[in-house]
């Protein structure tokens, strides 16, 4: 199994992002080589590391840190990085899913549900992009 696939498999199973040492142990690889691979995946926008480290912050569409967007699917739950990623988790897993988030204006909980790929609950809610598409990767945590 490749490094990227091992990272996703581990994260989906545990909800915790593996370190380079964990992946190295699972695949029988050198830890430094895995750290280099993490940086290469970061540069390719395949995952996002904390600045100056090899700690995974985002494993898109999953978030390795708590966010306002919680997704339940296939009997498990994870955080998503944003609204788009929250709906991306059921898509990536090819399964149904439920999203809980909060309206940033009033603080009320918002609930959405994806069933057979269709948004059957919460379809009337709005999503707003502050940042134009060509600048999304200037600061991918703020779009």
């Amino acid at each position: 199994m490749g490094i990227r696939n091992e990272v996703y498999s581990s994260f989906i199973a545990t909800g915790t992002a593996p370190g380079a040492d964990d992946v190295a142990g699972a695949l029988g690889l050198d830890e430094n080589a895995v750290a280099v691979a993490f940086r290469r995946l970061h540069d390719a926008h395949a995952l996002v590391l904390r600045p100056g480290t090899t700690e995974i912050r985002m494993l898109n569409p999953f978030s390795a840190v708590p966010t306002p967007h919680r997704v339940e699917a296939a009997g498990r739950s994870w955080y998503a990085n944003c609204a788009w990623d929250a709906l991306g988790i059921p898509s990536a897993l090819h399964t149904d899913g439920a999203v809980r988030s909060d309206c940033p204006d009033c603080g009320e909980q918002l609930e959405l549900e994806v069933l057979d790929g269709e948004l059957v609950r919460g379809a009337e809610l709005l999503v707003h992009f502050v940042v134009p598409a060509r600048r999304w990767w200037d600061d991918v945590a703020f779009t």
Binding site: D85, C103, G122, L125, H128, A133
Partner: protein, 71 residues
């Protein structure tokens, strides 16, 4: 980007933060985008898309115009 309850809530939130409006869509449209954007992400042979491939997905759900140009 975030989910908001309605246009009224969006306007208040933008005013409170002093942000200019960007672009809005319904959660239903975002779900269509998410379905196309993320469905191959966990495939073992996944590779990052080219900008043109990503732009084509935005176009498929009707997100065209300068705000949605990736390059």
């Amino acid at each position: 980007m975030l989910f908001l309850r309605s246009e009224e809530h969006l306007e208040r939130w933008l005013d409170a933060n002093g942000w200019e409006p960007g672009a809005s869509m319904s959660a239903a449209t975002l779900n269509e985008l998410a379905r196309r954007w993320w469905r191959s992400r966990l495939e073992p042979d996944w590779r990052p898309r080219t900008a043109a491939e990503s732009q084509a997905i935005l176009d498929q759900v009707g997100l065209s115009g300068d705000f949605w140009r990736l390059t």
